[in-house]
Each structure stands twice: as C-alpha cells, then as structure tokens.
C-alpha cells in the first residue's frame, strides 16, 4: 500500500478515535501492517511526521509488521511471503495493490495461484493511547 494514503488514513482515524474516547492529547498510535502491503517503514514514518497534528504533537508512532502467511487452497501448503521472491516490477505492483500477489506468487508445492492470505494482509490501527480530558 502507498505510504501517504496509509498515513492519511491513520492520522484521520486516530483523530476520530481520540474524539470518541475523549482524549485531549494523543501519546501513542500503534499500527499493524501486514507484510504483503509492502509498506516502506521509513517512508511511512516520514509521511506520519508530515501529517502530525497539534493534538498528537508528542505522540509516538509504533509500527508492528505482521508476517504474511499464505495457504494454498488446493494442497493446503502453508508458507510465508518473501519479498525476495518478486522482481522489481512485481514488487512495485504488489506495493500499489497487494492482491497482485495472486498474479506473481504460486504455491511452492503444487504451483497453484489459488491461495489465501491467512495473515499479514491489510492495515489496522491497533490502539490510540492518550491523556483523557478532565471533567
């Protein structure tokens, strides 16, 4: 996934959660990122810094990568996604659109492209911590 789009989503979702939970200041934002999303950690942190708002001026951004586990629907084989398995163009396509993995990745045992991503697809805002408003 593109880092800027993701950072924009994280910042505005965190602000919404903070309002819902009555936080006047955000101190930590935890994001879980599936490895299949091919998010560049530095570019993501840079985008988050650029988009940081007043309510989160001292907040720490924590990014937790989740390994991408794939499972073949034909033979049941399970394996982990490795970035090295893709060439530059393929990795770029998967970066923009993770479902492109279904074009480039095949089951290592039976060769089928029909696999499911059992873990490590998607992005989740895991928690927003902060200081609650008094009164």
């Amino acid at each position: 996934m593109h880092e800027w789009a993701l950072a924009e989503g994280v910042i505005s979702t965190a602000l919404r959660v903070a309002i819902e939970e009555g936080l006047e200041e955000i101190t930590e934002i935890v994001v879980m990122v599936g490895e299949l999303q091919q998010v560049d950690r530095d570019a993501f942190l840079f985008a988050l810094e650029q988009l940081r708002t007043q309510a989160m001026r001292r907040a720490r951004f924590t990014i937790e990568p989740i390994p991408a586990r794939l499972r073949c629907r034909v033979c049941g084989e399970e394996w982990f996604f490795k970035r090295e398995a893709l060439d530059v163009d393929e990795a770029e396509a998967v970066h923009f659109l993770p479902e492109m993995a279904h074009v480039f990745i095949k089951c290592p045992i039976c060769g089928s492209p029909d696999f499911e991503i059992s873990e490590g697809r998607g992005v989740w805002l895991a928690s927003v911590r902060g200081v609650r408003m008094v009164g």
Binding site: M1, G9, S12, A93, L97, E99, M100, D114, R121
Partner: protein
Amino acid sequence: MVDPRLEVIGRRLSKVDRVLAVASGKGGVGKSVISSTLALALSGMGRRVGLLDLDLTGPSTHLILGVDGLRPIEDKGIIPPRVHGLSYMSVVLFSPEEPIPLRGVDISNAIVELLAITRWKDLDYLIVDMPPGIGDEVLDVIRLMDSSYFLLVSTPSPLAQETVRKLLLLLLELKAPILGVVENMAMETTEGVKRSLEELGVTYLGAIGYDPELDEALGHMDKLMRTKFAMDVVKLAEEVERRIHQKIRS
C-alpha cells in the same frame, strides 16, 4: 481495530461531483463499451470525467480506449493517467498482461486499496465500469462510494432483462440511487421493458441500436466516436445530464 484505509476513501472522492456506476445483471450486454463511450461523450460535452475500471478479473476498457503501456503516476498515492482527456484507472496499470485470479475477499480488499490510493482531482463525473452480476463489487460500491448513481445496461434479450430486474430489486432494497436503465443492441424501445421498469418506478433512459461496425472501431478513438453506436451514446449522455440535474433539484 480500525481499518484506516476506509477513512481515506471519502477524501479521495471529495472532489468528484458524482459517481455513475454502470452495471448489468449479466455479461455480454456491452456494459464496458457503454461506460467507456459515455465517459468520452461527457468529456466531449466539456465535462471533466474520470473512468474507473472495477472489473478487476476481466478489465476491458483499456482495449476499448486503445491504450497500452500505461503506468501508475506516484505522488502521495496514485494520480490517474490521462487517456483521451479522461482520468483513467484500471488494474491493468499494475498488471497489463497476466490474469488476476481473485476470490471475493481479495476483490473487496483490492477495491478498498484502489479507492484509497487513487487521487482523483476535480471531476464532474466518475464513471465506474462495474463487473457483471450481483457480487462483491456492487455491494462494495454501495458501501464505499455511497452517493453513486447506478446506470444499468440491459438488452432486448429476456435473460438480460431478468437479471437486470434482479439487480434493480437489490439496489432498491439497498436504497441505492438508480439513474435508470439503458437498453443496448435494440433497434427501438422494447415496450415490455419500458413498462416493467415503470412498475418498479425506474427510469427508461433510451435505446442504443445494434451497430455491426462497432467491433471494428474498438481501440480506435476517431473511428469509435464516428460510429452510430457512439451517436446513440451521446444521446444517452445528454439524457444522463438532464436526469442528474433533475435529481439534484428535486
């Protein structure tokens, strides 16, 4: 646990005045040709138009528009490349040649991702070429692009009419805005179709004639826009404008 991608989608579409989802109950009714030509016709009328191909497993608008070798333009997301005056987005930007085997959950995820990364600029219309049928894409468009108008494509074939009727019932149940139904490959208005639409309170947008010269013109813009088919689609575009303005006023 919140999916932050969903939060971005509304913002990505905030400069789009109206989304027109072109859908059909079944394949082979000319939905993609109508979406592409409608986008070109509206653009020819001076409107700012985008075209989004959401037929992820069987994209074809790039073949109709005759474009090749398009690459995504990266700038804080993806800027849709310009194609014959349209802002254009399709999965072929990421995978021009290979088939993309996707199941329902993958399709939904891919649609969320595409909508979250694509930065549409000011548009009067975003035309969405939907895949045929009543599947995840239709439900996702209703869920994620909730102000979309649906424009349905049918043909005089009873099979097409029956599947369009089912799709209409679903859309009515989901309270999705319906612009109307256009009848493709028809020489004249099929009265039965018109009547059954009236019973449902759905607008009949007109008929587009069968044009034996259409296939040969696909991929060649100058030829395509001179076909009789395109002339009919221009009339459809004018009808769409009229209906949209009526809906906005009412």
